[in-house]
């Protein structure tokens, strides 16, 4: 069974798990089984059009699925599939949510 590597930024939605077993033979099926198991993560992965959100990259091994067929990219036994979301930290004061300072 392939496993999905969950980065720290999304672990609040997977009960703190850094690795989740998921079913499927494509990246899309894997990610959709993740969203079924952890419904709170769904809105962060998929946009309104059902596509992957632009701040999430998915890598199979060293390669982005952008160049290998997107969510249709096949996944084989033993592949490591990783969600790589944007993070912004560099250590400075937090900003207000509405950008009012």
């Amino acid at each position: 069974m392939p496993s999905l590597l969950i980065p720290t930024a999304l672990r609040a939605f997977t009960d703190g798990k850094s690795e989740v077993d998921a079913e499927g033979c494509t990246v899309g099926a894997l990610v959709s089984s993740l969203a079924d198991a952890y419904p709170d993560i769904r809105q962060h992965l998929y946009g309104e059009d059902g596509g992957l959100r632009p701040f999430i990259n998915i890598y199979v091994g060293e390669d982005s699925i952008k160049g290998t067929g997107g969510l249709d990219t096949p996944v084989a036994e033993g592949d490591s599939v990783m969600l790589v979301p944007a993070i912004a930290g560099g250590s400075r004061r937090a900003r207000a949510t509405r950008g009012d300072r």
Binding site: F13, I41, A88, S91, R92, A96, G99
Partner: protein, 393 residues
């Protein structure tokens, strides 16, 4: 692996080194990859460091030690005690001083020959090109998405490499975004996450040594862009997990339809990055209602029926508990919607009232019909205004 790339410093700019300088930099001069020529390029180089926080600290210290001729530093902030856990360029004596002043003093202490240019301002669409023009390399050590995209776009427009580092809790990313030679930040992430999804370091925490490692990696990349040589992290994203002690490397491709570095680019000037990053209310989106700590106290004293929801994780509630609040961690809102009484006002709290806004939005999207209120400035406001015995963190 990275291909060889040329130096960003034009040969016509190379100064001679004095005998004192030759002694000082001898360990560089002995490396054939750097040598006299590389050190002269470092002496000629102008590097802008955006942010003098966790990433900016090792960047500034190592680049000063390495003999970079001009270091520009941009920061509008003042040193606080909570910075000192990781921002090793600042000390206890610097608390309440401007970070750029504190950083300048440390840089000068390490290497008085460095010309330090202080920019005590917040980088914005209005001033970024003016500030960044003339620098050979920009190193990005900021903490927020609007500035990330601003620095990226300004670097692409000016043709300057952007040495990128970013951190969160135990995880770091580093790359070199250099549109002439490879992808830019927008090629990797065309748009940022909605506000609140990824907490800031102030809310999510950060292991102090993490920016030390990532910022040092950035400093190394800056030096190689100046001396010329291996392309390093151009076209590669380095991921570092300081807790599991693991480095990974991912390939980055240039996006042919990238709006700023692609063939038919649609962005020709800097835009409104607050708006781009969703920091202004979107049209049609109902604003989140909030109440202050004083208002909440008054309602509690009046005996109003309110459900108070603490969206923090258990380890964070242990820092400063909020009595009487029901804990429902942010990541479990949608699946625990049935635990709410939708006829009673619900007040959400977190550390500073940012993640709680996200909890309210998540419930709304899950179909919640009752009234949802955000405790403005979070538990820290309660500690500041109501319960002085409670710590602010």
């Amino acid at each position: 692996m990275g291909a060889r790339i040329g130096s960003v410093i034009d040969d016509s700019r190379l100064p001679e080194l004095s005998n004192d300088e030759i002694s000082r930099y001898s360990r560089h001069l002995l490396l054939p990859e750097i040598g006299m020529e590389g050190q002269r390029r470092l002496r000629a180089a102008k590097v802008l460091i955006v942010g003098t926080g966790g990433l900016g600290a090792p960047l500034a210290l190592y680049l000063a030690a390495a003999g970079v001729g001009t270091l520009g530093i941009v920061d509008f902030d003042f040193v606080e005690a909570s910075n000192l856990q990781r921002q090793i360029i600042h000390g206890v004596r610097d608390i309440d001083r401007p970070k750029v002043a504190s950083a300048r003093d440390r840089i000068k202490g390490i290497n008085p020959d460095v010309n330090v240019v202080e920019h005590m301002t917040r980088l914005s669409s209005g001033n970024a090109l003016e500030i960044m023009r003339g620098y050979d390399v920009v190193a990005d050590g900021t903490d927020n998405y609007p500035t990330r995209y601003l620095v990226n776009d300004a670097c692409v427009l000016l043709g300057i490499p952007n040495v990128y580092g970013s951190i969160f809790q135990f995880e770091g990313q580093a790359s070199v975004f250099y549109a002439k030679e490879g992808p830019c930040y927008r090629c990797l992430y065309p748009a940022p996450p909605p506000p609140g999804l990824v907490p800031s370091c102030a809310e999510g925490g950060v292991m102090g040594v993490l920016p030390g490692v990532v910022g040092t990696i950035q400093a190394g990349e800056v030096i190689k862009l100046i001396t010329g040589g291996d392309g390093g992290l151009v076209g590669r994203l380095l991921l570092f997990d300081a807790w599991r002690m693991k480095f990974r490397e991912l390939r980055l491709e240039k996006d042919p339809v990238c709006p700023i570095c692609g063939e038919n680019r649609s962005i020709h000037e800097l835009v409104d990055y607050e708006q781009f990053c969703g920091l202004r209310p979107a049209q049609g989106e109902a604003p989140v209602e909030s109440l202050t700590a004083l208002e909440l106290k008054a309602r509690l004293d009046a005996g109003d029926a309110i459900q108070i929801i603490d969206i923090r994780e258990p380890h964070e509630r242990a820092i400063a508990a909020f009595p009487g609040a029901k804990p429902i961690p942010l990541g479990q809102m949608a699946r625990r919607i049935d635990e709410f009484d939708q006829d009673i006002d619900a007040v959400f709290l977190c550390k500073i009232g940012q993640r709680s806004i996200f909890a309210i939005r998540a419930l709304r999207e899950a179909g919640y019909k009752g009234r949802l209120l955000n405790l403005q400035d979070g538990v820290n406001a309660w500690a500041r205004d109501i319960d002085r015995g409670m710590p602010q963190y």
